[in-house]
Symmetry: D3
Subunit: 73 residues, 6 copies
């Protein structure tokens, strides 16, 4: 009866991709720990890039910097 919470930035994951994450992680818990899929719960949170930080910067800013760098080349 595991509970899994996956947080990703909201950048266009499709319903199919989210379904793949859910079935994949449920299968992983069965394979590794013999957990019953019937009571394995998976919740995916999609977080705005303004609300996600890494290295002290928002992902919004990091994406802009990466885009500028690409342009420079």
């Amino acid at each position: 009866m595991p509970y899994v919470n996956i947080k990703i930035t909201k950048e266009g994951a499709t319903a199919e991709q989210k379904a793949e994450l859910i079935s994949g992680v449920t299968q992983l818990l069965r394979d590794v720990l013999n957990k019953n899929p019937a009571t394995t719960v998976v919740v995916i949170d999609e977080v705005e890039t303004d609300n996600w930080g890494i290295g002290g910067e928002t992902v919004t800013v990091l994406r802009q910097q990466a885009a500028l760098k690409q342009q420079d080349q």
Copy 2:
């Protein structure tokens, strides 16, 4: 000073129902553990059915299967 997080699928819970959950769980913590309601925090997350999985399937798919079954009868 408990903190409670309730996650439900986003399927039309009304403001009144959410207020009932908040007052109910705050009362429960007072009754069972004598916790002070003044500092009891409750946060409700409503999650899209595409983002919630159980049994390896999204709730979107489970709802469709249930609707088809109903139609068959």
Copy 3:
């Protein structure tokens, strides 16, 4: 299929009290939103008072201040 996480300070809640919280919140979700108890998951986290803060202070310090106040009277 709700998921509920209850965080309380680790201050001696008994197994019976925790079982009461679990049955109480499961019942609440059935009463208010007609949620199926069979797939309602409740997880209780008991947190050391050194690791819980409110008003900028740890609960350890708040408990000591309350005990001193009591002694003064």
Copy 4:
């Protein structure tokens, strides 16, 4: 490699303010525990006032009561 989750009510925090929270908490973890900013992750959740409760009431109701009180004066 800390992970920090900040939950606030959705009441108009700007992108600049959220960026300040992210850089501030990342800096705090470096100052206090020498944690590497490069792998410090911060996620901010903005929660509707209908979905946040304290003292057994939703923040929506608390805000209305505060507004009425102000009017009375």
Copy 5:
């Protein structure tokens, strides 16, 4: 830069099994969403069976009921 939290009951998962969960879910996020493993964070919480409820009962009680049933056969 996803963040994944896996909650399981504390019932003897080994360090090897937990390492498998971590590498497996990191790989899954790369395969499905092309997420960079270098900044994918996975945190596993192992929860006492007294603190986990499903169907309104603690896992401690459910395990006892299952053991009694087995004995009866």
Copy 6:
């Protein structure tokens, strides 16, 4: 009335350091968003290095690799 959850690896943070994190983040929320410290809740989770993964590896393994590297020099 914000709620903040800080997750760090369990590697010897002292009570004083944790108190500093709690007062620091409470102050940050007052400075940036004018949030009331009296109802700002901070919970710190200290996670075993076997239970924390980044880059697909547990922190236990990453610490061992770093120690070996140091020895080599």
